[in-house]
Amino acid sequence: MKILVAVKRVIDYNVQVRVKEDGTGVVTDNVKMSTNPPDDNAVEEAVKIKESGKATEVIAITIGEEKAQETVRKALAVGADRGIHVKADGILEPLAVSKILQKVVEKEKPDLVFMGKQAIDDDCNQTGQMLAALLNWPQATFASKIEVKDKSLDVTREVDEGLETISVNVPAIVTCDLRLNEPRYASLPNIMKAKKKPLEQLSATDLGIDTKPRIEQIKVEEPPKRKAGIKVGSVAELVQKLKNEAKVI
């Protein structure tokens, strides 16, 4: 089985994001960037499946500007076999990304495509489902457990009411939840080795995909600030304030 894993470069999850003064976006200059956290879970799961002998190859793919390659290198350092970077500039909407992935899937013919359930920058939560639609494949979203069977997967999904299990025939798309596994860290020797692993370069234009955004971003602004609260000295004071001042209990 061959697994394609899609990874995205985003502002690191620990960074306090700041809005640009001109309202055109958020500040990304000199800001720490990392792999989108649930994409790390997707890579980890693919590598684990390969280690268990149920997959033969793990390919990491990213789409974006030159530096997006870093996320593929990181995936290679934790066990992916080879990488693909599809160069595309500017804002990339999930629809365009899924069309690019569709082209690559048609060429590479993987049995499974894994990715994080949501990117923590645009918070769209769309790409996996869109790719599944374009390929007419099953989709197992928000996966917190994956059991690989012969020609199918049993996937436990995190849903609002609790947990749901579905069975999807291969080929399939799986979008991964943070609780799926504990991503490993890359060791220094493996980071060095990853530099020698093949990384194919493509571009959205080569693949014939127009990535021009369909959605106009009119402005980006700071959310309304909460006004600073107070510290109370005791539990009794807290309960009195909730009862008599905030009037919520």
Binding site: I11, Y13, N14, Q16, V17, V26, E93, P94, L95, S98, K117, D122, D123, N125, Q126, Q129, M130, A133, P138, Q139, A140, T141, F142, R157, E158, V159, D160, E161, G162, L163, E164, T165, I166, S167, V168, N169, L178, R179, R214, I215, E216, Q217, I218, K219, V220, P223, R226, G229, I230, K231, V232, V235, L238, V239, K241, L242, K243, A246, V248, I249
Partner: protein, 317 residues
Amino acid sequence: MSVLLIAEHNNKELKPFTLNAITAASQIDQDLHVLVIGHNSDGAAKAASAVPLVKKVIQIENPIYENYLAENFTPVIIKHAENYSHIVCSANTFGKNLMPRIAALMDCSQVSDIIKVISPDTFLRPIYAGNAFATVKSNDKKKCVTIRPTSFDAAPSDGGSAEIVKGDGADEFTLTKFVKKEEVKSDRPELGTARIVISGGRGMQSGDNFKLITAIADKLNAAIGASRAAVDAGYITNDHQVGQTGKVVVPDLYIAVGISGAIQHLAGMKESKVIVAINKDGEAPIFSVADYGLEADLFEALPQFLEELNKLNTIQK
């Protein structure tokens, strides 16, 4: 222009967030139709028809729709989407799973998780875990939009009598099969709609210690939430998680206990009307969003809290 809303329901009745989505959908256009796809779903269809904002209900019946699978719902929705300018549903795990599958097949760039309708093509949505708000305009002919339910009031649910028409289903998608759902049953208010939420974090130290929270939740008729750290540690099940990738809650009162306040958790609760933080670390970021902060050991504070509540003559329910 008309709006088609995909109802989330359990065949007998509408799920509460469908009513919030109806409010938002009616702000896009008043000609609002609701699609009820299910099996033995007359109850849900009647409930939708009773909502005064709804102008028409289209009911699709087939045993294959008993359990909701995006792969089965999508072709039905596409079949019925022709005369609508907008396809909408709530941005919970139901709608998040479903809508992009529809949007891609209609070649539409979806607008996810809107918190405000500015005009029929322009919406406000949070990005970066709510650290920025983006105003976006969709230029697609047909628009696919998901709605953050907690940002809109629930629509009144009775008094209406919209016509219910039967519609056609589509072929079954046989490559995906529903296996089981482990639903956590509880007599408490639902986390997403509760007036009061009390949440525990890593500071709770064990699942057993959540009984301190449960006792207060019982007293206040509150829902119980948790930070991702508490869920990851196995203290409590995932359906309680509040945050960027969990549930977004906007209760009148949110009590955060032993929660440091990571950006990802704040994303799920910082719009609450009144926020209380109980934490022994006075520097914890949760205090920066709290209206009332109590710097204390939760293992002392929670029993005292219950004691103080017991002293009150009346408690709002």
